[in-house]
């Protein structure tokens, strides 16, 4: 007899729990501080090295190139919010937030661009971002003169310097750069 009345106990359970609905969006959401939400890239600190582009699994961060500019593009629509880019950034330019209210009806709202100007060698090749060159000079034991040349020009200027010291003049063929 008791077993037949067991299902009615559900009313007791329901009464004890009460109302649990959270009235979002008029109240705050049930979220913890550890949630992985939107990332924010700070244009002041970014050096344009591309480490985040290599580490991003769905290619949401991409580097677009043109002869005098390198543009970092972040497409929120393809991001999987794994925060690997935050792990690998050498200068800490990317910050994570708990933002998740990202719905929109226009796809162009979801793109973020950061433009870097490129620094070339005197012969015209190369083209890393200016800030990346400054960062490398600051952190590694090399000087500006060395870092601002591509490897071919560096070799030529080394040969010029050696021949100037040993022989006293620089030959005609070597005087090309």
């Amino acid at each position: 007899m008791k077993r037949v009345f067991k299902p009615v106990e559900l009313i007791v359970i329901a009464g004890k729990t009460g109302r649990v609905t959270i009235k979002y969006p008029f109240e705050g959401p049930l979220i913890s501080q550890e949630f992985r939400g939107l990332i924010v890239i700070s244009p002041e600190k970014c050096i344009g090295c591309g480490a985040c582009v290599n580490a991003c699994p769905p290619n949401a961060l991409e580097m677009l190139e043109s002869p005098d500019k390198k543009i970092l593009r972040y497409y929120i629509g393809r991001c999987i919010f794994c925060w690997r880019c935050i792990d690998v950034c050498p200068v800490g330019a990317i910050k994570g937030t708990t933002e998740f209210e990202l719905a929109t009806n226009d796809f162009l709202d979801l793109y973020t661009y950061i433009t870097h100007s490129r620094a070339h060698c005197t012969c015209g090749t190369g083209g890393e971002p200016v800030r990346m060159r400054r960062y490398v000079i600051e952190k590694a034991p090399i000087v500006e003169n060395y870092a601002s040349k591509c490897p071919d020009c560096r070799k030529k200027s080394l040969i010029n310097a050696v021949s100037l010291r040993k022989v006293g003049f620089v030959g005609e063929e070597a005087r090309t750069s």
Partner: protein, 159 residues
Amino acid sequence: MEKKLERLKRSIWIFHLNTGSCNACDIEILDALTPFHDAERFGVKLVASPRHADAILLTGPITLESLPKVINAIEAAPRPRILIALGSCACGGGIWHDTYSTVGGVNSLLKILKERGIEVDAVYCVPGCPIRPEALLYAIALIKGLVQKKVKPEVATAE
């Protein structure tokens, strides 16, 4: 069609269309109907057939095997129709945006639909992986006009 879209905003009936996703977004849709994040406060109801639906919730990168069936299902929904793309797979193709077996997100699907003459009146996109149930409620509130859009495009120049 604009005026008809205005009248649609009272209570939206949704149909859930899974085009090959991993199911995380689909379970969060079902989670939005459970007592904690009650979606029925907004008048939202999950219906069994696309012919009763106002909005179609699309999840997953559209795989080649399921492409003909997706086109049939979208065509069966009556005008005015709203398409809501949920998650990073539907919005931009996600992690599979260039594999051999997927079409690659809602943008490519809209091109294919346009070639066949099927029109969609409004397209919404909700990023996330998987989306939170609150993000889905935010999108419904955005359609109804209760909240404002928060993302904006940003263009910045370094130095």
